[in-house]
């Protein structure tokens, strides 16, 4: 009667706490140290924190970041100081979310949120540029159509 042993296991489990959830309808709390989609931050006065120093690109083990700096326009500066990040691109087909770019950043311009639910079916969609990464006045980056923002991620 060996197969009854199998039923016994199933029967016993019915009274234990459930460990699975109904993803994606139901979502779990994310771990503290989850590394997800990046954002480029601003100072309170609206200036961009990124100075285009390329340290993130230098440290990136996956070589997925491409940055180019430029002289800040004197009459309408983008960031404090002489230089700003003119081009900023992250290729999410390559990014391994190791967080080294965040550690390298001298101005805390680039940080990683916990948003990991973004998948694309086009290679060019995988390249997030400055427009998509930079946060707006409400502190949120641009939402791409393939990103699931439920519940609203904590961008800070």
């Amino acid at each position: 009667m060996g197969y009854l042993n199998g039923f016994r296991v199933t029967f016993n489990k019915m009274f234990e706490d459930r460990v699975t959830t109904e993803y994606p309808e139901e979502k779990q709390e994310k771990p503290d140290r989850l590394h997800g989609r990046h954002v480029l931050n601003r100072y309170e006065d609206g200036m961009e924190k990124c100075i285009g120093c390329e340290l993130c690109a230098a440290v990136c083990p996956a070589k997925c970041i491409y940055v180019r700096g430029k002289d800040n326009p004197p009459d309408d500066p983008v960031s404090p100081g002489e230089r700003f990040g003119f081009v900023y691109e992250i290729n999410y087909l390559r990014c391994i979310h190791c967080d080294l770019c965040v550690e390298a950043c001298p101005t805390e311009a680039i940080t990683e949120s916990k948003l990991f639910e973004f998948s694309f079916s086009n290679r060019s969609d995988a390249i997030y540029t400055r427009d998509e990464l930079i946060v707006d006045d409400d502190g949120r980056p641009q939402q791409m159509p393939w990103e699931d923002w439920r519940p609203p991620p904590d961008w800070a």
Binding site: I51, C53, R68, D71, E82
Partner: protein, 817 residues
């Protein structure tokens, strides 16, 4: 003190080990040679030591006990004991760095130097690791533009004196200096005097911090994303060694490399920033064909077929090829083989009527730059002004005269950048230089050509040691044969040698590769050449030079004119000849990188790769071959010039038997004595200094100058010289060069200026037998009496309309407009 019987050391005791040294060698360099690196900021092997930064303090004991001394200021002496690792040395290094960092801002992330910064490196390697300084640092406005190209950030400056020493000692433009005292000392320019030096880029390169930055590279990339390859600058004929640095397939920077025989690490700004032109949008990216009066893009196959159609069945005598100085040696060989060997025309000339005859350059013993700069030697400068035309050569000559006791005798139409250093300055009446040259050799019995006997005697007394004649076209309004005659006179001096100052790119390679009428690769004549069966149709009679080709074209006797990177409409001194020649040619095939005036007249345009987009070799003005390396991909579908030659030949049904650069070198080294045993591998082994070609010069024909007419009392004789920044096809496309305009005025001696009753800037009409032009007039003491000086190729000042290429000299009448 104990006097032991053991033998005294003859060397320096470096950290307990005895090392040898050369007489007068600085301690820091002797240590470096023996593998002990002493940190330094202000030391530069090509400049006098000053001991400003104190970074190189080491413990030195010369018998009076150990004391901290700057190793860059001390010459080695026998028995000297040096400790570079002792606690006292370490403490000194720690302290110096802590002091230097007190006021140095920590803005490394935005600083262009960050990543390749000696201050960063030394602070990591020798510094305290932590700052005890909590007070506010010194602040200045940052950055300030001290010229159109160079920016100064005084906060970052550590007052090492490198840029100021370079400017005053090496370049002779003391435009930046220390100002203020104590903690307020800063580097700055003088009020109303920007750092407008032709050599300002060198200060940016040697600055050990990010205090000086140059606009073309500012914030373009960081050091760690630059790729670098060693190459040769092809902009002028000095062939300076450079490091070509690129990021993401775009050339972003040239840095000078210290090649002991050539440029010592220095570059002129024209060379340094010339890459900007090749990054510009004006590059020809695709071949073009003329259809309906307009140049439109075409495919390579149709363009090559059109070019082949134009050349097919044409009488070789009715084909002319102008240009070739832009090309590498290999490309020059391929094009010469196509036109001289396979098509059978000798109408090939790489010079545009502004060079010297190859008979002169091949006929006389040639000097290297080192030989010209020999301590104790004599340099006779016939022009052009090396400061304007050959920047890196100017710095070498200046160093030789200032530091090594070489004597300079100027025999030029006008003062030059070296005049203030010359032992004798002779400025003969234009067209009569050879008379002064003869007097310089044989002695003068009176005044010659406007030069006093006393001045000639003084110059004669100054001639000593090995003599080098720097020969180029000093005055573009003078016939080239006059320069040749002058050189021939001076060559009678004992052991005299010639250093060519013909300026344009790889022109010496072009002449060596036979791109000149009457010559074939390897400085061989048309008859009795050794090139073999690959050259079936070599003509036996010398063809036309570029002036001849243009004159024939003007007469409708040239069916196909090929322009190999040449712009006769802008560069041939005789404007009327160029205009008529280019419009008279039946078909024009242009191989170029930019749509120049002449290219816009072409029927078929083939896109050529830029200097960092092709491989090959370059021959400089000494005859030194060095490697040109490819760093980035060619723009669009543009190709290397040698490939274009081979494919054009193939479209004509000719097999040039060339499939690679190695094929070309195999041919050259086996068939041409001059290149015996040379190949790319050997050249790559000698890439820093290159390989000198030293053929035995053949005896030279006597140069008969064109007769110089007597000056009539009503006219002034024309002197046309060049300046570094003109309307040249490359330099005018560099934003950094366009900001250095020279005055668009015609200059005469104040005596004549007064006689004309002119006021500064008043417009006058200049009339010669060739044409007319109108320009503002200016009095200038540096112009000799009886002459009128104009700068070539300047905006709003086209002196070329006055020049007649057949005349010995150009006499100009000046009248009120």
């Amino acid at each position: 003190m104990s006097h032991e019987a053991t033998e005294e050391p003859s060397g320096v005791i470096l950290n307990g080990t005895e090392i040898g040294f050369e007489d007068g060698e600085l301690l820091i360099e002797a240590c470096e040679r023996n593998g002990v690196h002493i940190p330094r900021f202000c030391h530069h092997s090509r400049m006098e030591p000053v001991g400003m930064c104190r970074m190189c303090l080491v413990e030195v004991d010369t018998g009076r006990g150990p004391a901290l001394q700057p190793s860059c200021m001390i010459t080695c002496s026998a028995g000297m004991s040096v400790e570079t690792e002792s606690p006292a040395t370490k403490k000194a290094q720690d302290g110096v760095l802590e002091f230097l960092l007190i006021n140095h801002p920590l803005d490394c992330p935005v600083c262009d130097k960050g990543g390749e910064c000696p201050l960063q490196d030394n602070a990591y390697a020798y510094g305290p690791g932590e700052s005890r300084f909590v007070e506010e640092k010194r602040h200045y406005t940052k950055p300030i533009a001290i010229s159109e190209t160079v920016f100064l950030d005084r906060e970052r400056c550590i007052l090492c004196d490198l840029c100021t020493r370079f400017a005053s000692d090496v370049a002779g433009d003391a435009l930046i200096q220390f100002q203020g005292r104590g903690a307020q000392t800063e580097i700055n320019t003088f009020p109303d005097h920007p750092f407008a030096s032709y050599f300002s880029g060198n200060t940016v390169q040697i600055c050990p911090v990010g205090a000086l930055t140059a606009k073309p590279y500012r914030f373009k990339a960081r050091p760690w994303d630059l790729d670098e390859v060693e190459s040769t600058s092809v902009i002028d004929s000095v062939g300076s060694r450079i490091a070509v640095q690129s990021s993401h397939d775009v050339v972003l920077r040239y840095q000078g490399i210290d090649a002991d025989a050539v440029n010592w690490g220095w570059l002129s700004d024209k060379e340094r920033f010339s890459f900007e032109a090749f990054n510009s949008d004006e590059r020809i990216a695709e071949p073009m064909l003329r259809s309906g009066g307009e140049l439109t893009e075409a495919t390579w196959s149709t363009a090559l077929a059109a070019a082949a159609d134009a050349l097919r069945g044409v009488d070789p005598e009715r084909v002319g090829v102008i240009g070739g100085a832009r090309l590498t040696n290999e490309a020059q060989y391929a094009w010469t083989k196509l036109f001289k060997g396979a098509i059978g025309t000798d109408n090939v000339d790489a010079q545009l009527g502004d060079g010297l005859t190859p008979d002169l350059l091949f006929g006389y013993p040639r000097a290297t730059i080192d030989e010209a700069c020999t301590p104790g030697g004599t340099i006779i400068l016939l022009g052009p002004d090396p400061r304007e035309d050959l920047g890196a050569l100017f710095l070498r000559l200046r160093h030789a005269v200032v530091n090594d006791g070489a004597r300079l005798i100027e025999l030029t139409p006008l003062t030059t950048g070296l005049s203030s250093l010359a032992a004798a300055r002779l400025h003969p009446h234009p067209g009569e230089t050879s008379l002064v040259a003869r007097a310089l050799v044989d002695g003068a019995s009176g005044d010659v050509a406007g030069v006093s006997r006393g001045a000639i005697d003084a110059a004669r007394r100054a001639i000593e040691g090995p003599v080098t004649i720097i020969a180029g076209r000093a005055n573009l309004a003078e016939h080239a044969s006059l320069t040749a005659a002058t050189v021939a006179e001076l060559m009678r001096l004992d052991g005299a040698r010639v250093l060519s100052a013909v300026r344009r790119g790889n022109i010496h390679g072009a002449l060596d590769m036979g791109m000149s009428p009457g010559w074939l690769p390897g400085r061989q004549r048309l008859i009795g050449h050794s090139l073999g069966s690959g050259w079936p149709k070599v003509p036996t009679v010398a063809g036309l030079d570029s002036a001849g080709i243009l004159a024939e074209a003007a007469a409708g006797r040239i069916d196909v004119l090929v322009l190999l990177g040449a712009d006769p409409l802008a560069d041939v001194p005789d404007a009327a000849l160029a205009r008529k020649g280019v419009s008279g040619a039946d078909k024009i095939i242009a191989v170029d990188t930019f749509v120049t005036d002449s290219v816009s007249q072409a029927d078929i345009v083939l896109a050529a790769a830029g200097p960092c987009e092709r491989e090959g070799t370059f021959t400089n003005l000494e005859g030194r071959i060095s490697v040109v390396a490819q760093k980035v991909n060619p723009r669009g579908t543009s190709r290397s010039d040698w490939e274009i030659a081979v494919e054009l030949a193939a479209a004509l049904g000719i097999d040039l038997e060339i499939e690679s650069l190695d094929d070309i070198w195999a041919e050259l080294s086996s068939a041409v004595e001059l290149y015996d045993g040379l190949d790319l591998e050997k050249l790559a082994q000698h890439q820093r200094e290159g390989i000198m070609l030293r053929p035995t010069p053949e005896s030279t024909d006597v140069f008969t100058p064109v007769d110089t007419p007597r000056n009539d009392a009503y006219s002034l004789r024309l002197i046309v010289t060049r300046v570094m920044y003109d309307r040249g096809s490359i330099v005018s496309r560099c934003p950094s060069g366009a900001t250095n305009p020279s005055s668009p005025a015609v200059r005469v001696n104040p005596y004549e200026f007064e006689q004309l009753g002119a006021v500064d800037g008043e417009r006058f009409t200049l009339t010669s037998t060739a044409g007319k032009m109108s320009a503002p007039l200016m009095g200038d003491v540096s112009v000799p009496r009886g002459a009128v000086a104009v700068v070539f190729a300047q905006p709003e000042l086209d002196v070329r309309s006055l020049i007649d290429h057949t005349a010995a000299v150009v006499d100009v009448r000046i009248e009120r407009a």
